[in-house]
Symmetry: C2
Subunit: 336 residues, 2 copies
Amino acid sequence: MPSGRVTIADVARRAGVSTAAVSKVVRGAYGVSAEMQARVSQAIDELGYRPHAAARALRGRTYTLGVMLSDTRNPFFPDIIEGVTGHLSDTQYQVLLGPGGIEPRTQARMTDAMIDRSMDGLILISPVMTDAELTAIATAVPVVVVGRHGGSAAYGAVVDDDVMGARLVVDHLVGLGHTRIAHITHLERARAQGLPHTVRAEGYRQAMRAHGLADDVLATSFTEEGGYEGARQLLARADRPTAIFAGADIAALGVLRAADEAGLSVPEDLSVAGYDNIGIASLKRISLTSVDQDGQAIGAIAAQLLVERIEGRTRSVTSSVSPTLIVRGTTGPPRH
Amino acid sequence: MPSGRVTIADVARRAGVSTAAVSKVVRGAYGVSAEMQARVSQAIDELGYRPHAAARALRGRTYTLGVMLSDTRNPFFPDIIEGVTGHLSDTQYQVLLGPGGIEPRTQARMTDAMIDRSMDGLILISPVMTDAELTAIATAVPVVVVGRHGGSAAYGAVVDDDVMGARLVVDHLVGLGHTRIAHITHLERARAQGLPHTVRAEGYRQAMRAHGLADDVLATSFTEEGGYEGARQLLARADRPTAIFAGADIAALGVLRAADEAGLSVPEDLSVAGYDNIGIASLKRISLTSVDQDGQAIGAIAAQLLVERIEGRTRSVTSSVSPTLIVRGTTGPPRH
DNA sequence: TTGGTTGTGTAGAACGTTCTCCATTGTTAG
DNA sequence: CTAACAATGGAGAACGTTCTACACAACCAA
């Protein structure tokens, strides 16, 4: 009784050949006649054979790619994942996601676990670890990092051009006639360098300077509450800004609430823009002007880079994706 | 040169014992003296040894649990995942997520892939497949299904008590004085039985009947647009409902938009309630009354059930989690 | 003494693949 | 006809674990 799993030996017996031959056919390796190929393929279909990944892992590939998620709740992860799986759907590779948590310790545990499961390559999304740790991982397995500016030669990297994204927003607001434009950013936890919010804030400053305007950055946090608190402080000022650019949509929602409470109408009294273009931003009731990152493109490029690395064709190192500004109802010309 | 990985043989050599002994220590198996235990542990620490999961897979466990996600975008998946990982964080088990997509075909591919990677057990979240397919998977590997009512003895199941959830909403609205309460549900794709929205609609009907009220179910879809369209139809009627209970929050957001456009104020002219208690429901600007599922509890229970199954202590079969009603600003007494 | 038990450690065979040789055949060049 | 070579298939050794047998020692009971 062939208890349970169909193995390569079962296929070999059925087709009347050696296991080595079957292995060749399965892998599409060189040295198989058309007749052999047909016979083995038939046996595979008849028995419903599927290679056992763990056994493969002991010698060669597992055809498994790991994606480490730093925060499952981040609303544009689904886009990135869709991009990754979409790009890989016609290949042999399978994608498995690892919830790494926010803590460096748990993230390290997850990457270790992925390496222990001999994944062929890893995509790390917004990893919170030092560059040394990152490099250490990258020596054990091909790695592509998403969402961290900077980076090293040891691994590939895909980033959204956050400087450009911030500039798009500033240009848009200036074009509408705003001059007092404030920016709400996330309080730097001083752990890792090159995190998106830092770069966005820097892009905002650059863009303001380019327009000859004074910048005005307030650091709270990227939460609804953080946006609310930040906006309350900004709106309490004598010469309150006519526009607030929040570094993340979730914070922009808090800004909208603060505007509501202050009796300010949006966009007449206050223009509001966010970043990330999360799903609810497009709901008509919210209609938030935001910067869209095309997470799907980012995911697809990350997957492509990773496969290149795995297969030894390390072409490019860092790839940057251009964001787009989605203008909706929360931005308009200032009142007077 | 010990190229790359530290193996059990390296540890054995260092500690001056056999590989079998090291294996015993690693697994915490019976038959090791305290002295041996100490010596091996020290060698493990010194060398930084971690067992190779793939090699383990060939004989015993991989200590890997797979969670198949049917739709990465579903907003309460993060809660479930948090529950699963939280419950497992002190154990040896690692959780890996598999994006299965919405199509039955891709979901099947993912579950196959997880079995091929010899995961010790699988949690399937809202799988779209027939009960026969489900049972087939469950014979190959221990399985716990989340979010499908019904189910078989072959696998464990955890569900939210959707009947109760619907009743909570109806009771709440009736308690406020409403009598014309409509329900918006999702159009049945007639694939699988026992999907949450069907059960919610049924629960709504039961509850209305219990109050001696006429039910009024409209099937559109669980999208913002679906909620909007449904509400438009309902609000155009001569004796329009004074309350709308949408089977999902995302649809409730569409209902709110329709109310806005119709010039109806919420909750004075129209009460609105949703289901799922997604993140934005709590934003002050939305403040949607909704049914909370405690995804974290669901995840934790699923993990527990799965581990029990893996370790042969199949205690319970189906576990039901009670939802709670979160009353917020979108429900109130009808105007007159 | 013999025989049994208990406690501790090891040898070595799996597990299901991949992949490096090697053997066999057929073809072609000289 | 022989030598060289290309094309194809197979044997068998890995890969890093687990786990069943078994060996050995120490102890105890009869």
